[in-house]
Amino acid sequence: MTNLPKELVKITHLRTEFHIPEGVVPAVNNVNFNIQAGETLSIIGESGCGKSVTALSIMRLIPDPPGKIVSGNINFEGVDLLKLPMSKMREIRGNKIAMIFQEPMTSLNPLYTVGNQISEVYLEHKGYNYKDAWDNSVNILGKVGIPSPEERAHEYIHEMSGGMRQRAMIAMALACSPRLLIADEPTTAVDVTIQNQILNLMRDLQASTGAAILLITHNFGVVAEMADRVIVMYLGHAVEDADVDSIFDKPLHPYTRGLIGCIPFPGRKSLLGKKPLQEIPGIVPSMYELPEGCVFHPRCRWAKDICRKQAPELVETEKGHKVACWKAVEKWV
């Protein structure tokens, strides 16, 4: 990221919908962003804001039906992933783009040993013979910090602890040295001390492989420690896009501000005294009945008439800092 950054992924006007009996859910609604090579981009938001669907759209793993990528481009290394046939997409998944999920217990196969599952990646993408594939699997298990990987490779996931399972999944994702690693809530199911180990591991591996990471999380602490850049999502919209320090030091969108103000973090009491947490009034509205205009206006205390009528676009107000908010764009006081 020293010289001119190279765009690894360029997503434009992505819209993913789910057609269910209750109506149409626009889970991802006109989202635009880029990921540079070697960068860690974090998407943050509350549950149901569309962050996981964005990740699954990149992988083209949206279950169809009911889901459908309606419009947009996902440009990865100059190729539009949305135009690729599934067979070509399969060559990219697990190879150039890999993904790790929140719950390793449900995303790894309980009927195969860990070594077996990782070997499959090598057999499929690299065309290794079985022995080489196995040796490489053992090797990568060692790299992610699993002790005595020769024996561990013969184990099933139920024999491993939560932290070990997550490591095994990371090993599988890294098997083919992907250019982009999508991590969907990788530490939500583990304790903080294990989370710390996993995050350190991801950082070390990124330093040695130069992979870009798309980190999806609801935890602002994790964002602060991992991300170079942050996208805040709300109800399928990207509402703010900025580098990590700007997000915490001068958040522009009222939603981002509200989110940061309502986190009780250790040390808050010594810093601010025993003050009540800032609240974002109301609840996240249902996706079937999205508010008109800015989707955040019913919960926003600065909302004016224009917010209720016209949806703000994501525009760059300062260098590298984009926000979708009339207040920030028109600089209301």
Partner: protein
């Protein structure tokens, strides 16, 4: 008569072991040592926080205190009454005074009961109220937790997670308890909703003079609510101190590592120096010898492998169980 007590709850040397049964004859082949000698006191109108990683026994402790589990050993003295010595009838009589709120508001509310039915059930069981009085009380409870009277005819599936947790809080308040045990009450909620519920807890505490035992894995949440915090590891309290002391100036090596592991949502957090704990929490079936933390502890000495440390009180009043410290050491 009972002497006037400053403490609402006094837990003395509590232990809880669960047998592991195997085979056709269901013979006991081992024990899960969930709680291994825990003592603490909660003052009247105090919020007492309990933190620890999963499997450290914090939820079991909560359930033992309300006698959902019968403790294997030890005493629980609530308002001067030893709960262990009570028969079921007397226990039922005292139960309204301590209530519990659980983590998952989706599984703790009966889906087939309307809110009104749910909130009036404890009133029917314990109070002699007329139907109208009961209804008024239900409306009052709903208002206290920030819901509206028209919500009373609805069923749990019609509410969001935050609203359900409000209903659970209203149910806990129905019989005017003096102690509420909150077991991860906000862990299933999104942060913006979590803040609303935490502020509600603060408000209720002031309004009704409640005491809380607040159990959570999230130290930020516990620090916000609690006046004092106990840190648990493998069924033991390793450190007990004032809220800000635990977060700003931890002493026990485990507390230090735990605090260092928590990512802080502030700018430039990436540059923070970190102590990383290696390994996993050992199984509570085969407990380690000596200090339970010794094989992960960066300061482990030979004595730590042999002898479990005593709990000592340091100069600032905090309690620590670690061989690095002696009684009365300055912090």
């Amino acid at each position: 008569m009972t002497v006037k007590e400053d403490y609402i709850l006094n837990v003395i040397d509590l232990e809880k072991h669960f047998p592991i049964k195997k085979g056709v004859l269901k013979r006991t082949v081992g024990l899960v040592h969930a709680i291994n000698g825990v003592s603490f006191k909660i003052r009247k109108k105090e919020s007492f926080g309990l933190v620890g990683e999963s499997g450290c026994g914090k939820s079991t402790l909560g359930k033992c205190i309300v006698f959902l589990y019968e403790p294997t050993r030890g005493e629980i003295i609530f308002n001067g009454v030893n709960l262990g010595g009570l028969d079921n009838k007397k226990l039922r009589k005292i139960r309204p005074q301590f209530q519990m709120i659980f983590q998952d508001p989706y599984s703790t509310l009966n889906p087939r009961m309307s809110v009104e039915a749910m909130l009036s059930e404890p009133l029917k069981l314990y109070n002699k109220m007329s139907t109208n009085e009961r209804r008024d009380r239900v409306f009052e409870l709903l208002e206290i937790v920030g819901l509206r009277p028209e919500h009373s005819t609805r069923y749990p599936h019609e509410f969001s997670g935050g609203q359900r947790q409000r209903i659970a809080v209203a149910r806990a308040l129905a019989l005017n308890p003096s102690l509420i045990i909150c077991d991860e009450p906000v862990s299933a909620l999104d942060v913006s909703i979590q803040a609303q519920i935490l502020n509600l807890f603060d408000k209720l505490k002031k309004k009704f003079g409640l005491s809380y035992l607040f159990i959570s894995h999230d130290i930020g949440v516990v620090e916000h609510v609690a006046d004092r915090i106990a840190v648990m590891y493998l069924g033991k309290i390793v450190e007990l101190a004032k809220d800000t002391e635990i977060c700003q100036n931890p002493q026990h090596p485990y507390t230090k590592a735990l605090m260092a592991a928590i990512p802080i949502p502030k700018s430039r957090s990436r540059d923070r120096v970190k102590i990383s704990l290696t390994g996993d929490v050992p199984s509570p079936i085969d407990l380690p010898s000596g200090c339970f933390f010794h094989h992960r502890c960066p300061h482990a000495m030979s004595i730590c492998k042999e002898k479990a440390p005593e709990t000592v009180t340091l100069s600032d009043g905090r309690e620590v169980s670690c061989h690095l410290f002696n009684e009365g050491d300055r912090v």
